[in-house]
């Protein structure tokens, strides 16, 4: 009680954001859901409520991917923030004829994450943060419990062969080039393509089963 009184400005700002979020949630509930086309056209017109919807729907999956690459929760969140600002600013560059919105967003996010990994400050920080990793891993488990969907998907993914999962993850989550994948898995460059296709066909089967 005393501490709450001593920081009235902070709590009022907090309330403002809570109110703002609640407003957005009420608004979204009324709209229910955007189709991808609607969402894209609204975002091209810099519609902030559409962006809020985009964030709510895609931030968890993008953060998951960043975290899989970086394994540092704080840094991953920074990258997520940077990625969404970039998505907002560069949205005019998205062309639906060339692929799905998620793929485009993932490419932006993945490139930013790779840039962060390659940056000097990350290399320095990662050493220091190794100790914190154990703590983060504990919270990982609680976070994982957040989504029943994720659990279901993960269960399905266990049906995938290890080498197939590995090749997908190297490309999808790590941003490895075909050349890098060929070296990592010690397979000829020419077969990366066919192996990848086989793995994704298998993935599609597994996910629809």
């Amino acid at each position: 009680m005393l501490s709450a009184d001593s920081q009235p400005s902070k709590s009022s700002i907090f309330n403002f954001y809570q109110l703002k979020r609640r407003y957005i949630l009420i608004y979204l509930e009324a709209v229910k859901k955007y189709s991808e086309e609607e969402l894209v056209s609204l975002l091209k017109n810099k519609d902030q409520s559409a962006f809020s919807y985009l964030y709510d729907n895609y931030s968890p999956v993008l953060l998951g991917i960043i975290y899989k690459m970086i394994s540092d929760r704080v840094l991953a969140e920074d990258v997520l923030q940077e990625a969404f600002v970039k998505i907002w600013n560069n949205f005019s560059g998205y062309d639906s004829a060339k692929g799905r919105l998620f793929t485009w967003m993932l490419n932006i996010t993945r490139n930013l994450t790779i840039d962060t990994i390659r940056s000097k400050s990350f290399k320095n920080q990662s050493k220091i943060r190794n100790d914190e990793k154990a703590v983060n891993n504990i919270s990982d488990k609680t976070n994982a419990a957040e989504s029943f969907d994720a659990l279901g998907i993960r269960k399905n993914l266990t049906l995938l062969k290890d080498d197939q999962r590995e090749i997908i993850e190297l490309a999808y989550f790590r941003g490895f080039t075909q050349d890098e994948i060929s070296k990592q898995l010690d397979i000829p460059l020419g077969t990366v393509k066919t192996k990848m296709r086989a793995a994704i066909i298998e993935l599609r089967k597994v996910l629809t089963s």
């Binding site: 969140e77 004829a97 490419n107 976070n143 999808y172 490895f176 993935l203």
Partner: protein
């Protein structure tokens, strides 16, 4: 490459994963533009990958969203004045450069300053002008007084000269029983017959009356002129000249006098 070739080549998978080379990307995009069915195939691949990604979802803390919205709102606010939707052209057209604003302010200050100075100096001028007028009035008055004094001095000198003149014969006209206190004195110049009278000891003449001077020759009074006052004061003055006379007399007559005396005699002197 036809659509079957593209599908079976694995290019779509590489494309969806974002690891297609630039050449492969061009091939896929060309195919997508040519065959709408390819889009369905690509979408199916993307869907499965997206689902895969969902296996690792992590809920970000709420503050991340707040920070993002803060950032994009700030950027929108920054950009707003620059974009052309809010009639900024009018603003730009009528914007006055800071230098001119400064110059205008400086000029206004100078104007106010010069008005204030003008007012101050006008007041000082008025004051000085009044002082000058007062001083020149005083000077004029002093000059007039000086002139008066000079004249008085000259008259006194003349009178003194008369009295000390060796030819002057002083004759005292004593008061008659009519006016025992009255007294007049004349200085009669023996060489030319000029007569100067000193009437200072005559009583003041009443309103409308004037003293007249007479010379009695062979028993007849001859007009010797009116005795004038100067601002109500008697001074020594020149009368008519007489070569000889038996007596002199002063009578009180109506103003202007007459050829023969009508009034009473106030003073008289017999010449022996």
């Amino acid at each position: 490459m036809n659509k079957e070739d593209i599908i079976s080549s694995g290019l779509l998978e590489l494309y969806a994963l974002g690891i297609a080379s630039p050449e492969e990307k061009i091939q896929v995009e060309r195919g997508l533009a040519e065959y709408p069915e390819l889009r369905h195939e690509l979408s199916a691949i993307e869907d499965s990958l997206e689902t895969y990604a969902h296996a690792y979802t992590k809920q970000p803390p709420a503050r991340i969203k707040e920070k993002i919205f803060e950032e994009i709102s700030n950027e929108a606010a920054k950009k707003e004045p620059a974009d052309g939707n809010h009639q900024p052209s009018a603003q730009i057209l009528y914007r006055i450069p800071a230098f001119f604003k400064l110059a205008a302010a400086a000029m206004l200050l100078l104007l106010i300053g010069s008005i204030a100075l003008s007012y101050l100096y006008y007041n000082r001028y008025k004051e000085a002008d009044e002082k000058y007028n007062a001083a020149s009035d005083q000077l004029q008055q002093a000059n007039e007084k000086l002139k008066e004094n000079d004249e008085a001095n000259a008259a006194m000198k003349h009178e003194l000269n008369l009295m000390s003149d060796k030819n002057a014969l002083p004759v005292v006209l004593n008061g008659t029983p009519q006016a025992p206190d009255a007294l007049a004195k004349i200085y009669w110049m023996k060489n030319n017959g000029d007569i100067y009278i000193d009437p200072t000891n005559l009583p003041p003449a009443p309103e409308g009356k004037q003293y007249q001077f007479w010379a009695i020759i062979d028993g007849k009074p001859i007009d010797g002129g009116m005795i004038r006052t100067e601002n109500g004061v008697y001074r020594i003055q020149k009368m008519k000249s007489f070569g000889h006379a038996d007596a002199f007399a002063i009578t009180l007559e109506n103003s202007g006098g007459g050829p023969v005396p009508h009034g009473k005699t106030y003073a008289m002197a017999k010449i022996l």
